[in-house]
Amino acid sequence: MSAPRSGTNYLNVSYGIRSWLFSVDHKRIALLYLCSVTSMFLLGGLFAAMVRMELLTPAGDMLASDTYNKVFTMHGIVMVFFFLIPGIPAVLGNFLVPMMVGARDLAFPRLNLLSWYLYTVGALFTLFSIVIGGVDTGWTFYTPYSSAWTTTNIVPVALGIFVTGFSSILTGLNFIVTIHTMRAPGLTWFRLPLFIWAHYATSIVIILGTPVIAITIVLLALERVFHLGFFDPALGGDPVLFQHFFWFYSHPAVYIMILPAMGVVSEIVACFSRKRVFGYPFVAGSSLAIALLGFLVWGHHMFVSSQSVFAGMVFSVLSFLVAIPSAVKVFNWTATLYKGSISFETPMLYAFGFLGLFTIGGLTGLMLATLGIDVHVHDTYFIVAHFHYIMVGGTVMAYLGGLHFWWPKISGRLYPEWWGRLSALIVFIGFNLTFFPQFIVGYLGMPRRYHAYPEEFQVLNVMSTAGASILGVGYVIPLIYFVWSMRYGKRAPSNPFGATGLEWRTPSPPPTENFPAPPTVTEEAYAYERVPVPEGGAHAG
């Protein structure tokens, strides 16, 4: 099984900054993305810390109102557009999609490099806007505030998001073509790992949805700069039309974040329970169902926007429907554990965390889809708590789980397992302490985006800020030991977790061409019944 370690791999095949910046190797581009999105995550986290510090007291006493408004806006923009959306696909997907299908690279390696440059240009535009004063509209850019009233730097940020959108589109295109045309001999569609199905579904959403946000942003900029009346009623436009356009992309964008996370969880749960994923065709099909139904529910962000009652009903019932495929996945992952041989290495702890937190996020999502409840909790901290359970409790947990699972493959090194488990525990506790109180304060009626708030909400806000400090520690620990492990970690064998999947059939780290010889596939994914059970995982021995 374990291939002999040859002298060169993708990391040491060449040296120097140019060998990275002009590399068309999907694995090196994945690492470029890893550096970029990690930087943006730290920046977004810094803004989050400022928000939580301000909310420690009811009075708006640490930051000026305008500053606070910019800080939560930049937190949202940086995290959504520059961390959560590219996160798993551009880092783990980039590294793993070609390896999992047994290919040498993605279908269009140069486009792949271009996508990283587009991302970087977009991020630089956004950073430029932050440096010259930031934006204060909220990440949702609602008109006519964004187009006619705010005096902040909308255009550079809009340009940044516009350009970054093309990096998403190129990545999605690359994945779809690669999955269709470059699968190894014998790798039929229903032998594909569920990670691939998830990325395929994600790519469809990216390609269909991202052009819509690009057009919307262009219209917004045209209205702002040339006063063409699309959205501003003073110019004859319709402000609610913007919300339709915005959410037509930005709701499916939530599935761009969560579908790849679900793919990661399928891989981890199968490996650490030594089982096939229960109901494989249902888990695969539910990814496609989510991708398609996800385009039909955008109006549930607009139940109190003056949208008609009839439209509200249609969007409500469709929102309930999109929950079913998500529920199917959770039930199937749970059933996968049945009669397994379960071990609790770091990736599995993150996967367990994902299952618990995503379940809470999904169930509270159903409460929000319920029309009569949403009227009360819309635009309160209940919403804030809900989407952080999905995006942080779901996507970030899976992202960290995936990074730990494939880190030995990516870096060729092992990280300290004890620290890994500790950080997973800290993240889980810190996360719940941060966001659970926000459900309560939201139902009590505390609106989101409030710089100052009534005194009776303080205790819950203090709990939330305390939780955020713990969460911050939980995120910094892996950052430290991952960097540490690159130099000091034990060398990783080719398959430290005894996992199935083509990526484990090649040395760690892999050679530039991925596989010493083109692989062939003769069995379905997750044939764990044919693989010996590792004793205590990679790190014990």
Binding site: Y443, V459, R530
Partner: protein, 333 residues
Amino acid sequence: MRSDLPLFPVQASAEARQVDHLFLATLILSVFFALLVSATLLTFAVRYRRRPKDKPPAPIHGSHVLEIAWMVLPLLLAMGTFVWGAEVFFRLNRPPDDTMVVNVVGKRWMWKLQHPSGRREINELHVPLGTPVRLNMTSEDVIHSFYVPAFRIKADAVPGRYTTTWFRATRPGRYHLFCAEYCGTRHSGMIGWVEVMQPEAFQAWLAGGTQEVSLAEAGERLFNDLGCVTCHKPGSGARGPTLDKLYGSTVKLQGGESITADETYLRESILYPAARVTAGYQPIMPTFRGLVSEEGVLELIEYLKSRSAQKAEESSASAPSSAGKSPGQERTP
């Protein structure tokens, strides 16, 4: 730091109780499913934990019966929740016939409220206990959202159109009024109070304050000052259609469509006269944008409403008129 830790908001309207029942039911359902999933996960995690010298477990591919069961059962529960939620939503959106109407204008960063009697308030809304109150809302600048947690109601105030919500207070007291749609610098300062008073106290409050003219009277004054009467004079041959009995009636438009003359239509006809021209008239009316504020438009509409009401009283014996009902209600469902 205040040490009290409220966990549930006060209920100050009948609708608040209905929303809470719905919320608690979905909460119980959610807790049930969350416990079901986590208990199963933990049970499996303990029971099937890896032991030394474990053989590879036998493969299980899945079960169609289970897949169908855990698709259909949650779907049924979801559809039930949807129906209940929609029913409560209807009630939140459909005011009863006999509402008291208060005009609301959102402006960065304050709420301006007008009672029909002419009494005006800023960031405070006084209402009587037990009487349904309908809010007729718009905004002068950006989108705001009128949110009273104690009543569990929220509706955006959107520039360029009228939106509506309603409540019936069931508990005297002072309750938070928040702006829930982000509107710029002092968004979190765009807050106030709703004061629910005993009906007698409310009447006394309404009569108090500086003596102001009623909204309809203020509207009549504007109507004359702006010279509306020059064209909209009674009798045939006038350059503009007569405005008697207009509110609530059905207007035939050029192009054959017809429309109910509600608040939204009247506002549009004042500010964008060319948008919908009455059949048989020329599009010669100039716009009054910039000449009259949102509050002025609301006063003009009150005046037109009062003219419809008078005429309806005069001809009440002859034909049933729709002027007594609020057409806003007919638009909402």
